[in-house]
Amino acid sequence: MGEPSATEPEQPGEREAGEPVIATRALTKRYRGGQLAVDGLDLTVPAGSVFGFLGPNGSGKTTTIRMLMGLIEPTSGTARILGRPMPGATRAVLPHVGALIEGPALYGFLSGRDNLLRHDCADPAADPRTRRARVAAALDRVGLTAAAGKKAKAYSLGMKQRLGLAAALLQPRRLLVLDEPTNGLDPQGMREIRTLIRELASDGTTVFLSSHLLDEIEQVCTHAAVMAQGRLLTQGPVADLAAGARGRLVVTTPDPAEAARVLKEQGVGDLAVTGDRVTGEVPDRDLAEVNAALVAAGVRVRGFTVERASLEDAFVALTGEGFDVAG
């Protein structure tokens, strides 16, 4: 992990817009104990996306993020951020990247403001003349202005999390890597952070968001990838992933037996009857005709809907288990 010279001619990201912000090829990390943490990862994060990175605890998410940030050297494979190789181009790439990795880490004996000033001092691309103004703006953006002078050891977990986010926002970034950004926040704080992420994304910042809260990913992410046991199970637009686990047709009726018979005739497979609910796979034909057939057969229909599959359904279908089970 040598340090590249400061005078690299090519600026990251000034290439064709279609290039992914993060691209890994067969990225692999085997720790010294022989444990394979990440196994042949091919991850592609498109520019401008809000990318959800999902996986149970111990699935290799954090190791991947640390390799992307140049903290851990890959055993094999390559990682490119903003079109430049990591960890080779650390000096040129990382000033464009704001990161919150495995929770915030603060100097308890320094105030919130001094923590940010120190972080900014460590960034070679940060202009010392605008330092105080940028720190004040970042504190304001995460709602910490009132607590800026307090020692960080007196901060609650939520405040620490906000300060960590503020550090990632000290400069305009092209990529934000946020590992569990809403951890420790109350529901109001979570909503604020989600709003902030959407704001940043609408400004054109690519956001790489790792989380174990599926509904959070579903609410803010445009793309997602799922990891388990060091391997990438799937990646793509969130809508496609959810569609992968198909929705189900749900008919609510006081005549379930008759409804099931008609639905079968209409080509609906995998039928199940529970009480007054008849569910089945969504058929390829027009659903209006299916409904008309039910009514024509004298079935009294109370409800006729397609229940959309959630990302959680997709996730369970992929991993074959509950989300929070360690891999």
Partner: protein, 292 residues
């Protein structure tokens, strides 16, 4: 906040940036209560020695007459308060000073790793080599600050409790008070330089672990071990390579003319330790997986 269009270019890096990082590192280090407590303990040593000598010689008898030898120069303090500077440095150099340096050096990298702040400094990105050099520079400046705290505290106590004036060198010649002050400053610099080897050793240990406490304890443990080895006569072949072996050579600055031989050996040995353990720390730190 600024729009994405304003983002793309990285500002050309100012060559002064590293100094900004160093300045921040220095203020961070010297604002810690722990650092201030270490310096306060060091400042307290000359006060204790001064008061003890004053009480013991209150009846006019020479100090140390009650039996046993004190640190170098202690017998001269009653004649000239300036000697308290030399005595205090001689008293703190074997243990208090290097222990304080070991605490600061041992914590330098390991403490940041333990707190998790190391990963944020590295993704800022501070650069591993640059961060290590900044840390070493800070520890070396702490060596200087710690030594000067002892010297200034001793000078103040000496001036308060004892007369000041011309002084007699070890060689028996008389030198003026101004030159004596100059020699005192030179001695403080020599003592500070004596600590740079321990500083490099501590920094190396600090790159090996993610626990600041473990790094501090190991460094101080090594310090004590080396001090003990330096006392075992059977190991005389090894002793010239122990970093503490020529520490007390600073007394030679009180000779007329100054006897440079051992002073030079001391500086060379410290430079050797700094080079060897500095390189080892660099090799370790620049290739290490940061998992904390």
């Amino acid at each position: 906040m600024s729009r994405a269009e304003a983002a793309p270019t990285v500002r050309p890096v100012s060559p002064w940036w590293t100094l900004g990082l160093l300045r921040n590192e220095l203020t961070t280090t010297f604002r810690r209560w722990r650092t201030l407590a270490l310096l306060a303990v060091l400042a307290g040593v000359p006060i204790l020695v001064g008061i003890a000598v004053r009480i013991e010689t209150g009846d006019g008898s020479p100090p140390g007459g009650g039996g046993g030898e004190g640190p170098a120069f202690i017998a001269q303090i009653t004649n000239n308060g300036l000697f308290l500077v030399f005595t205090a440095l001689a008293a703190t150099l074997p243990f208090f000073l290097p222990m304080a340096v070991g605490v600061v050096a041992g914590d330098a990298i390991a403490g940041e790793a333990g707190a998790g702040t190391l990963r944020y400094l590295l993704v800022a990105p501070a650069g591993r080599t640059r961060l290590l050099l900044t840390k070493y520079a800070t520890v070396v400046l702490f060596c200087l600050a710690a030594t000067l705290v002892v010297a200034v505290s001793a000078l103040a106590v000496g001036a308060l409790l004892f007369p000041l004036g011309d002084l007699t060198t070890i060689s028996g010649t008389r030198i003026g008070f101004a030159e004596g002050l100059g020699r005192a400053l030179l001695i403080a610099l020599a003592v500070a330089a004596s600590l740079t080897g321990v500083a490099a050793l501590g920094l190396f240990v600090s790159t090996l672990t993610n626990s600041g406490i473990a790094a501090m304890a190991t460094t101080v443990g090594l310090l004590i071990t080396v001090q003990i080895l330096d006392q075992i006569p059977q190991l005389h072949a090894l002793q010239p390579y122990l970093f503490s072996h020529y520490w007390l050579s600073f007394a030679d600055l009180m000779r007329e003319p100054v006897y440079w031989d051992e002073l030079r050996k001391n500086l060379g040995l410290q430079a050797l330790y700094a080079a060897v353990f500095g390189t080892a720390a660099w090799a370790r730190f620049t290739t290490k997986d940061i998992t904390a």
